[in-house]
């Protein structure tokens, strides 16, 4: 029995001798150092492990190893009735629980043929967009810290805190929301909640300016991000990368517009895109999305203030038994296309429920983006893909 592997130790000869002339054989005839990046590392955003081969500090190859947070969620789905699945979806992308709930509810509603009342649609969209804001704020905080910019972290958490408080007032939870139900919502809004949302959203534009002032034109920030981790639109699509990375590559595609769900067609917002497909543009896209989400939140507030009455749940059957068959529904999660593929056999439990997790698919492009960059850039790139390991490992 040998001791557990410890590749972080300098004297561990893990890879064996390289073939002469191989990729591993560097100019000086020396072997690259193998660097175990994670799973316990400050900037892997969880338990991601990347096995790096570095030549000095330059990355020769990066191999992500995932699964440290695998909880068998898809297996658990099969043992729960449909309403009981929703809390499990919270734990996928745990910083964006609302969009997870939403995607799951959509796919069940699709199989049931349920119509969601307009008011519920607006509230759902409102929750989604607030979730997007909070997720992007968390992203900005951590991406800033990854590059050594410490202060944005506290600025963004100031606002995120307000959003979480609003969530708490809406559904009692701050992170794992469990805020949507099949066919609509569980409870109506608390009186005055919409006004509180508005009071948050209206001055939020100035807050975004504040973050941007710290970073957007900061010379060091630009040095660190421009030209780093380029993944152009064609490669994005080939690798299945969706969400902000795809839009930063100049490809204007967003499920909210492409395959609209809920009341998005009635809302006025734009899909921000930038052309350079690098870390800086991914940052800009997310900043612009913050502004767009704010717009949507305000429009939802307007609608909800004008239409305070109305049902919040469709004609949901008491026992949810969708017709036998299969369906797929997707939402634009903060990280990209989040889809649920549901196979029903007509019982009250899903026969098979598969998640199409954007973090998982986007992470696949990491080796390509990181190759040839420095270790410091790897940190920037992991940050900019915006992964949540709960979703990657499920």
């Amino acid at each position: 029995m040998s001791a557990p592997v410890e590749p972080a130790r300098a004297d561990v000869n893990v890879a064996g001798e390289p073939e002469p002339g191989s990729e591993e054989h560097t100019l000086l005839g020396l072997r690259e150092m193998e660097l175990n990046f994670g799973p316990q590392h400050p900037s892997t955003h969880g338990v991601l492990r990347i096995i790096l081969k570095v030549d000095g500090e330059r990355i020769v190859s990066a191999r992500p190893e995932i699964g440290y947070l695998h909880r068998g969620t898809e297996k658990l789905f099969e043992t729960e009735t449909y309403p009981m699945v929703i809390p499990h979806t919270d734990r996928l992308d745990y910083v964006a629980a609302a969009t997870n709930n939403h995607a799951f509810c959509l796919v069940v509603e699709k199989l049931l043929g349920l119509e969601v009342p307009k008011k519920a649609q607006y509230i759902r969209v409102l929750l989604d967009e607030m979730q997007r804001i909070s997720s992007h704020l968390l992203w900005l905080a951590t991406a800033g810290i990854d590059l050594g910019a410490m202060t944005p972290f506290f600025y963004t958490f100031r606002e995120r805190e307000v959003i979480l408080d609003l969530f708490e007032e809406f559904c009692g939870a701050r992170l794992t929301l469990h805020c949507m139900r099949i066919g609509g919502l569980l409870e109506d809004l608390t009186p005055g909640w919409v006004q509180k949302v508005r009071a948050f959203a209206e001055p939020f534009e100035a807050r975004i300016d504040e973050y941007e002032e710290l970073l957007t034109e900061n010379r060091i920030w630009k040095l660190r991000t421009i030209g780093v981790g380029i993944l152009n639109a064609e490669r994005c699509i080939e690798m299945g990368v969706t969400g902000p990375p795809l839009r930063a590559a100049g490809f204007k595609w967003d499920i909210r517009r492409a395959i609209p769900y809920e009341c998005y067609p009635e809302l006025d917002f734009e899909i921000p895109t930038y052309q350079n497909a690098d870390t800086y543009d991914r940052y800009l896209v997310r900043m612009a999305e913050l502004r767009q989400s704010r717009r949507i939140v305000l429009q939802c507030c307007d609608w909800l203030e004008k239409n305070p009455e109305g049902p919040i749940r469709g004609k949901t059957p008491r026992v949810i038994k969708p017709a036998a068959g299969e369906a797929y529904a997707a939402v634009e999660a903060p990280k990209g296309e989040l889809g649920f593929y549901l196979v029903s056999n007509g019982t009250n439990k899903p026969y098979r429920l598969h998640v199409r997790p954007p973090s998982f698919i986007n992470l696949q492009a990491l080796p390509e983006m990181a190759k040839g960059h420095l270790v410091s850039d790897l940190v920037a790139i992991i940050g900019t893909i915006d992964i949540v390991l709960g979703e990657v490992d499920r």
Binding site: P4, K110, E266, K315, G339
Partner: protein, 250 residues
């Protein structure tokens, strides 16, 4: 199925989502005339209409069923017909259900089918997964879900049947993104993919013994043997002794 039968006037609603979902752009979904064979090959009329276009109810279909959405045969759809023509013998059946077209494809021809669709502008492989039908022969379905940006965000699902122990051709040669998805299916269902560049377990650990998403895998988990074979499995987990990824301190 559903305990409360949706009333007939709700029926159009069922079809609304798909129409929305297809962005009313795919020319073939814009002709709701034919009740059974889904859509005759309509000429490519309008390019992507605004997605917000009001849903067109597929009214006549409502008469056919009392409750829930029903699958309708979709082998007449131009996409399916195109596949059948381009890759003869590939299409086993095709149906449309809640607005999603699903084509059963002959396992041996799946790569040709995927290539065909990729050439037909379905450049984005949305999802690849598998379903375990425990008592069926062949046991597994491998499901591909494709997306076309040019055809107004149209999507199509391909399914192949794979028997236990049998290999499925790897789609990595066509869609690079399928790499990890196939590894996941391999890991959780135990379906090997032929010609996959890097077929290793991805979510469970290297020495894990079993395939959790198979229906016969107990939810409470199994003994992976780590306790029984201490010489094979290192204490505290890690790759098995005969695993090629096993590395030791030199």
């Amino acid at each position: 199925m559903a305990d409360e039968a949706p009333k007939p006037e709700e029926k159009p609603k069922v079809e609304e989502k798909p129409t929305e979902a297809g962005a009313a752009a795919a020319p073939d979904t814009s002709t709701p005339a034919a009740p059974t064979t889904a859509m005759p090959a309509g000429p490519a009329a309008a390019p992507a209409k605004p997605a917000a276009a009001p849903a067109k109810p597929a009214a006549p279909a409502a008469a056919a069923v009392k409750k829930g959405p029903v699958p309708v045969d979709a082998s007449g759809k131009p996409l399916v017909a195109g596949l059948a023509a381009a890759v003869p013998g590939s299409v086993l059946s095709a149906k449309e259900f809640v607005g999603e077209t699903t084509v059963d494809v002959e396992t041996a021809k799946i790569l040709d089918a995927l290539r065909h669709f990729k050439n037909e502008s379905f450049s984005y492989l949305v999802d690849l997964t598998a379903v375990d039908w425990k008592d069926r022969q062949p046991r597994f379905d491998v499901v591909y879900y494709l997306h076309s940006f040019q055809r107004g965000n149209e999507r199509i699902r391909l399914k192949v049947k794979v028997a236990e122990g049998e290999a499925c051709p790897s789609a990595t040669a066509v869609y690079e993104t399928s790499n990890w998805m196939e590894r996941e299916v391999f890991d959780l269902f135990g379906i090997p993919f032929a010609n996959h560049p890097d077929l290793r377990r991805i979510l469970t650990w290297e020495g894990f013994n079993g395939h959790p998403l198979r229906k016969d895998f107990p939810v409470e988990g199994i003994d992976t043997g780590a306790a029984i074979y201490p010489d094979r499995y290192p204490e505290g987990g890690g790759p098995a002794a005969d695993d090629p990824n096993r590395r030791t301190l030199s």
